[in-house]
């Protein structure tokens, strides 16, 4: 993650980054208000703290009559996918959550101060890369994973373990990280930044825009200008040979919930070690003017012994989303590789000098 930030986008992309985050930072005042209520809203119904069904809220609808999910959203969060070791409860109190947020924000900010971490290239604060500068989608959960109930990924199957070992061996075979562009993490290469599904918050710019048209729900992801165009007309999945990073999403409405089932991933996505057989089922439910409840199930018997589930809120932010032209401004890769070649040359020269002076 850290490397990604370093290697990607030093020039034009940085400008774009700065701009977007500035834009996003202008959270509508109204959206700020119900902050305290939000975490509770994401809690499952059977939880002890009752859901605030205080005033009768009705879901807005698009002109064609389906629930209206449109607008700008974020799932910005410090909540980890898996429950940290040592934490045993499912939910923090609000005070505890604020503590966690504060600690994380401080850790991020440290990166700003030269000397505190090994390689500070960006000023996180200046470029708005601190998550705490954007609106957080508060979540009282101690982990995104809700099932298994321990908040951890299920055990990996023998097949999954073998695949992980094979992948590691293959990576090793390819040489060191900066030997060739293909060895550099995929995000730094502007190929893929885990836009999902499932849609986990990225390190920065966790911004989304949802636009609906008859028969479609479209989600624009700021990072890498990814777009998920989800048909809701009941058509079947693409043929098995059609593989892609974002997979092939097909949606339908169950009551007021948008259910999206995605298959046809390629074997390079490898979300948490998954295979190309992964199936992700997502559920988007608008729970208030300000929030969407996002639940997902990951099903991949060739990787995990059982399916697992996660949940997080999306909350409103101000728009617009600006172009993230990552590849186009990716000076980082060329500079990093050129640097590596230079260092090798220097090392070789020094070695030669040593030999000759002996």
């Amino acid at each position: 993650m850290h490397q990604r930030v370093l290697a990607a986008s030093v020039g034009i992309a940085a400008l774009a980054l700065a701009l977007t985050v500035v834009l996003l930072a202008q959270v509508p005042a109204a959206a700020q208000a119900p902050k305290a209520a939000t975490p509770a809203a994401t809690k499952p119904a059977p939880a002890t703290k009752a859901a605030p069904a205080a005033k009768a809220w009705t879901v807005p609808r698009t002109p064609e009559g389906v629930p209206d999910l449109q607008g700008y959203w974020t799932n910005n969060s410090y909540t980890p996918l898996e429950r940290p070791n040592g934490v045993t409860k499912e939910f923090y109190t609000l005070e505890e959550l604020r503590q966690v947020e504060k600690k994380n924000a401080e850790r991020e900010e440290e990166q700003t101060t030269p000397g505190t971490v090994a390689d500070v290239h960006y000023d996180f604060t200046q470029f708005g890369l601190d998550r705490s500068q954007t609106r957080l989608a508060d979540n009282l959960r101690t982990s995104v994973i809700t099932n298994p109930e321990n908040g951890k990924l299920p055990p990996v199957t023998p097949e999954g373990q073998k695949r992980a070992a094979d992948r590691a061996a293959e990576r090793k075979k390819q040489g060191a990280q900066y030997d060739q562009v293909q060895n550099i993490p995929i995000g730094s290469r502007c190929v893929w930044m885990n836009a999902g599904p499932p849609m986990m918050p990225p390190g920065y710019n966790p911004a989304y825009q949802i636009v609906q048209s008859p028969g479609y729900v479209t989600i624009l992801v700021e990072m890498l200008h990814e777009t998920r165009v989800i048909p809701t007309d009941g058509r079947p999945h693409a043929p098995a040979g059609v593989r892609s990073w974002m997979g092939d999403p097909k949606g339908h409405w169950e009551g007021d919930t948008l259910v999206v089932e995605t298959t046809n991933f390629n074997d390079k996505v490898a979300f948490r070690g998954a295979s190309e057989n992964m199936k992700v089922t997502e559920r988007f439910t608008r729970t208030s003017d300000d929030a969407i409840r996002y639940e997902f199930t990951v099903d991949d018997p060739s990787t995990w012994e059982r399916a697992w589930k996660g949940e997080m809120p999306f909350v409103k932010i101000g728009g617009p989303i600006f172009e993230h032209a990552c590849n186009e401004g990716n000076y980082g890769i060329a500079n990093t590789l050129a640097g590596a070649r230079k260092e090798e040359k220097k090392a070789a020269e020094e070695a030669a000098k040593k030999i000759s002076t002996k």
């Binding site: 834009l23 064609e64 290469r189 008859p214 200008h225 060329a334």
Partner: protein
């Protein structure tokens, strides 16, 4: 002279006919706007060259006929782009060095209007406040702001698009471009003063007519216009697919920086 008379006569005739023909009225979205939702694609050779051009060989011998240039009648009205002399020289240089310079080869965002006539589909997603145009090539996206029009916050590849309806037409005004995208593989180009006004209207249930006026005082002596039909992809299973080409161009861009040089 004779030719130009004939041509203008013909244009007149066409205009008259078009003027008399009852204009097609597009079906409406639930909120009463012409409904352009769908997957669309141009079917012409404009991405090779927006100007009229003859068939020609590929710059890459190894590809034989497979990547040769098909001839095309062009989509520029009147045939030629009104370059300033120094800009025309740059266009020719671009064309000669296309393999090094064409942003398409490097999987860079295609810009406007090129995104509209790339040989791959795009989808129009028509929301009420925003109309999205999602392109298969490089996953490029345009957001057309239908309300709260603002200036571009900064320059970008795809520009900043404000749209409005004029009867049956969607009019899109796009500025805020950087000077890095091209119009085609022939090296036709623009500066960061590019201003594109597009007019899109339905001409039948399965076709749109697309026009764009292109203005860029740094590069052209006057505004000029392109026009072409767009075709709805009518396969029952038509869908926009992923063409994440960055991965396909990395050896091209960074191959020389490999530890073990690629053969």
């Amino acid at each position: 002279m004779v030719t130009s008379l004939v041509t203008s006569g013909l244009l007149l005739a066409v205009t008259t006919v078009a003027g008399q023909a009852p204009a097609y009225r597009a079906p409406r979205t639930p909120d009463g706007k012409p409904n352009f939702n769908g997957i669309w694609q141009a079917m012409n050779t404009a991405n090779w060259d927006v100007e009229p051009h003859a068939a020609g060989p590929s710059l890459v011998r190894e590809l034989g006929a497979i990547a040769a240039v098909p001839g095309g009648l062009g989509i520029v009205e009147g045939g030629e782009i009104p370059y300033r002399p120094e800009a025309l020289a740059k266009k020719k240089e671009n064309q000669a060095n296309r393999l090094k310079l064409d942003p398409e080869i490097k999987c860079y965002l295609p810009g406007v209007p090129r995104a509209m006539y790339m040989p791959s589909p795009f989808q129009i997603i028509q929301g009420q406040k925003h109309i999205m145009i999602v392109h298969e090539f490089a996953g490029a996206v345009r957001t057309i702001y239908m309300e709260n029009h603002t200036e571009a916050p900064a320059d970008s590849w795809m520009g900043w698009s404000n749209g409005h309806w004029e009867g049956e037409s969607l009019v899109i005004d796009t500025k805020g471009f950087n000077d890095l995208s091209w119009f085609d593989r022939a090296g036709n180009f623009h500066s960061d003063e590019l201003h594109v006004v597009e007019r899109i209207r339905a001409r039948s249930p399965e076709t749109l007519s697309y026009e764009a006026t292109i203005e860029d005082p740094k590069v052209f002596t006057r505004p000029w216009k392109i026009s072409m039909p767009l075709y709805r992809r009518v396969e029952p299973n038509a869908q926009l697919m992923e063409f994440r080409c960055v991965e396909f161009v990395e050896d091209l861009i960074y191959g020389h920086l490999r530890k073990q040089p690629s053969k």
